[in-house]
Symmetry: D2
Subunit: 392 residues, 4 copies
């Protein structure tokens, strides 16, 4: 996969100290080595921003003090960035995205795009006028099994769609976290920043996009109720919404940040007159499909029978969950700590539960030999060369 594609130059605005979403974008940019991060503004404190830029390998001349300056300068460089990631709080999305789009630089902007639909439409218009791309990372639609679900429906596997049920019901703010100084809780419960229907903007829009993406249907009409489960909270933290999709297909969305005990809670079920399917984000590599008889079939990414839409986004072998690459990264992370400690003459970082070493490799080989020896002896009990393993 990584051998084929040309590389792009990326920049970032926001995503500085403590900004999880900025990190997540960088993980995503990095994995396939299709982007190099070459410019950025990482916060309002110029010194700290420069320090972060440096730690990310960005050349000093491309660590900017502000986004206007960055848009200007990058647009003029022959090797300027192809795309900028906007990972700032919601209320600054509009001017930043606008500045880059007007220079013809593609923009990846977190949702909600802006605080009102007039300004959002304006951004869409600017992107079109400047013939560039404005993208929004509703990343749930990028899972292989979500693509498979969408493909199945496009191909008629479920027949005529009859019902759509989505929920993005998390329990992350089921307590008054905002009173404890929790950063994300504070701004997400501040109506001036997040808006009164905060949970709809934050989670409901994901559920809504996922429903549209998988079914290919648009909403004609909706009816919604908003609730505040945590007393004293200044925004709505729960919403239940009825929808009528194209042609009157009924649907429901439940969005919550106060569904006590739920970890993530994004789940979608689609019903048609020939079958139904279900996908849950907490088990992203599986897709359940039910037929008219009532049998359930569980598909998983990597199956040879899946569509190209799913297959092209699968980096690991059948049965390896998404996440396997992170386990590899974890191995290399532990190793990096130790290698760097040795290189720099610091104390070893190897703790009780660390990365496997050659001893583990040796014990593995002894294990194989002992099994073979036992088998050759009709399953007799055999000692796996314990003596050697103690010496080394």
């Amino acid at each position: 996969m990584e051998l084929e594609g040309p590389r792009l130059r990326a920049g970032m605005v926001g995503g500085g100290q403590g900004a999880d979403i900025g990190k997540t974008h960088r993980f995503g940019l990095r994995l396939d080595d299709r982007y190099s991060l070459e410019a950025g503004v990482f916060g309002r404190d110029a010194g700290q921003s420069a320090r972060i830029a440096g730690s990310l390998g960005i050349a000093p001349g491309r660590s900017y003090a502000g986004y206007e300056e960055m848009a200007e300068a990058e647009a003029e460089r022959p090797d300027g960035i192809d795309v900028v990631v906007v990972a700032t709080p919601n209320d600054s999305h509009f001017p930043i995205a606008k500045a880059f789009l007007e220079k013809g630089i593609a923009v990846v902007c977190e949702k909600p795009l802006t605080g009102d639909s007039a300004s959002a439409a304006e951004l869409v218009r600017i992107a079109a006028e400047n013939n560039t791309i404005l993208a929004v990372p509703h990343c749930y639609s990028a899972y292989p099994m979500v693509r498979e679900a969408a493909r199945m429906i496009r191909d008629g596997a479920l027949g005529r769609i009859t019902f759509v049920d989505v929920e993005h019901a998390s329990g992350w703010a089921a307590t008054p976290l905002e009173l404890t100084g929790h950063k994300q809780a504070s701004w997400r419960t501040n109506p001036d920043i997040a808006g009164f229907p905060s949970v709809v903007a934050d989670l409901g829009t994901h559920a809504y996009h996922l429903a549209r993406y998988i079914t290919g249907l648009e909403a004609e009409e909706l009816a919604g109720q908003l609730h505040t489960f945590v007393p004293g909270r200044q925004v709505f933290d729960n919403a239940t919404i009825s929808l009528r999709f194209d042609g009157g297909v009924p649907g429901r969305i439940w969005a919550s940040m106060a569904a006590t005990g739920h970890n993530h809670g994004l789940r979608i079920r689609i019903f048609g007159d020939a079958g139904s399917l279900e996908w849950q984000h907490e088990d992203p590599h599986h897709l359940s499909v039910q037929d008219l008889d009532g049998s359930t079939t569980i598909l998983t990414h990597g199956l040879s029978t899946l569509s190209d839409d799913a297959a092209r986004l699968t980096r690991v072998g059948l049965g390896h969950p998404e996440g396997f690459l992170e386990a590899f990264a974890n191995f290399y992370l532990d190793l990096a700590d130790e290698l760097a400690a040795r290189r720099d003459g610091r104390e070893s970082t190897v703790r009780e539960l660390s990365f496997p070493t050659g001893i583990d490799g040796l014990l593995g080989v002894q294990f194989v030999e002992a099994v073979a020896a036992s088998h050759a002896n009709n399953g007799a009990w055999t000692v796996p060369s314990g003596a050697i393993s103690q010496e080394v």
Copy 2:
């Protein structure tokens, strides 16, 4: 996470065209930006190796024709590599690892380390003599919830361990794949390359390491049976093994490459006199714990109650599965294709099921507005500004 650690220089031997494991290592090296890949030999065909090196961003002078030359040259450079990844077929592990270790360069070598325990012990000895690191990527031990399991047992949460049950039973070679020209099946069923107890070396060693890692126990004795499920196959494709761990704790390992229908099949259960736990690779972000009464509690990575061993390896928020970062990467992959196409004047790559754009962002904002309007009107049916969305 990525802001803190110093960066290392990495090299690779093997992992060229069509080598999945090489790609997996590069994904792992890349994710946290703690390594830069700066040197390598990517196969025996010098031209192709050089081409791959180039596509990976390696400078021409550090794309080598052979591993001896590479070890020699990198050891002499002031900016030589800190670590080399050996991702070649099993039978070449020994000389390659040896060459780098003797130069004091750390080695990450795939399992099985070597074909026999004498040579494996030799590598361990060489690493120690040269005061460098030999690491083996049994990466299953790097999952947060595996670390949590190991921590729980170290902390006595299960009491005295009474039984250990592990299986790594895959169905990937339940048919005579080797007769179809399948590359991996061909060498894994060739006794000259993979050894007769092929499945034990390939999968059994992972199960064995996981049992040792989680329990902290070593095997004193074992008794094994080997089977060939696929008629005509020249290696054993299934193994059942009884073990006696330290102090006589009984255990079982089942390793299979012919467990029909299984996708991956790595699963471990540990029993103690105060509780038990279970972890499965196909659901890696959960850990089941059972108490003496018989209640089951399901823990997930990201919970605030987990140990530091688990927490430090978790990159995403509670409820986001490992794999979420790959969904982000998929988004950026689709986007990269399109950005590159536009930059290079090629036809658009946007297909039916592609990345979300500003239109999706706009529809999301309209959705939020419509929900708020409906709510303000006691849940009345409301049209989400359909007209605007059609225009843009």
Copy 3:
């Protein structure tokens, strides 16, 4: 359990040939031996009704031609029935229930009690006036784990209730079954018999009762939408309902007979400010409880830690699913067929897959002996007296 309680005399109206619900009631009456079925009217065809009564062991004099006659006669007998089960189609519930209640005989009447709330209220009034019992078999509330859920909420384990979500979404009529002559589909899609909101009466009322039962909350207000998924169907086969329970607690009910692929589909989730719980009818002996941290604990009937409300309704040991008694009954059913065949001189009914016999018992004992012998011989391979097993 069965040793303690006094026995009651029961009668039945309806539940004749082909009436599944009548059978289900008889299974329920029979299991604990607390009732004897002593009188009945099993359909409008007097001959057939009498034949069924006979096969159920009812004395000829208590097999009646009509329900009025039965109510009259049983009320006058000193050994008359204590309770009557009304298992007729919905539209006859009212007069039948009325006839028995007015004689002071307790009535078990299937839901919906009647076709309109005025007549339902009338029945409630008559029962009260005659100081007798009118019961409705919303049997889902009788599962041990549902009782446990209700008890937990009464005891405050979930704190203040914030949200209630129930669905009874089955796929049994996802196709136009009524066109195929399917009996139940025919009357349930006939608006004259089942009413237009058929699915609400049939399944929605179960969901509604379960929500009320578990939470102890009553609905103050609701808003509903009805849909017809199967074209041409004359009743609504899907309903989505928003509710406001006592004090404004929001809730949702989804009832469907056309949720393609679903088998049964009754599921409830309750959220409070201190935790949440989930119960599904397709896995009735488990209850999931989630805490504020996000851990999930799975409880099962038979656990020593459960409340008395749950414990008193559990007939089997920990880990034995509800249904274990049916497996026992299946064993005895196969055996009855064979015993009767032998007694009556008919051909053996023993088929390939039938009940275990003494041979199986013998093989079991040989198995135990062989395991003990192998163990005594350090796990050596041992033949389990194969010769003997062949002889017998």
Copy 4:
């Protein structure tokens, strides 16, 4: 189902006060109304036995002081029992079963049939000589989905069987229960009563029978290890067994009474060269089937596509779990308590969480009406006749 079969006369030896297994047999005998319990000996205390017989509806003349007398007398009666259930401790199985078999009375005897294979073979011989039936309630083989599994394998759906894996690993005796006076624990850990390999006799034989039943294969050879997990326990409480079934098919059995945290723990997986399947007792109405590609299909009892072997043993509709009948029985149990209390002039038994009444039925009808009214008003909020419901 219950209308078709002739009725049999049954007797019981054992199953008196506190004997759970006797109760379980009576539940099984009773469910389909194919048996009437007409004679018995319910313990060694004659008075108590008579009292139990009375409470079970047995005529005084057929409550016996001993099994010899019972066998004698019943054999001579023209209306004597057709079958006797032996539910006594293991060490008395042989003489009791023998006494009835010699009179030509069929015997249902709990496993292990006897304490050694010679006496077990003797019972088999006696049954054959007397042309009667000796049956052993390995009831797990009577579940519809187990029958389906066996049928699938007979019909070749899995191809050639390659591997059999069974476990019956319970945690019920993971602590030294026998020291607390726990009755079952006391005798099951007494080597004089239960034998040293107690867990093999108790649970291993179920696993062994299930493997034989589903696959149709017999064991040629086995190798076993026995362990004692609970210190000081006088019998083995854990066993791991390797098997070679017909033609060398490998298999494993794990039996445990000390698998901490497990509730029941019976689970079987069968692999063939064309597919595999899995069944677990804790989810008895489902069967998982995996194909060569790696897709998993979940079947459930009641599906129209199942074999007759499964269908004939299913009493409830699709999606209703086994256990639904017990929920019905629970409803009737609560009701019986209240009816009897009223009849006998005792205080009402209705507690907080009891059976649904006419009020619940009325509220259900009001619910249906309110939904219909709301729908007719485009989903407007509607009060479900609260006033009426408060009055009644």
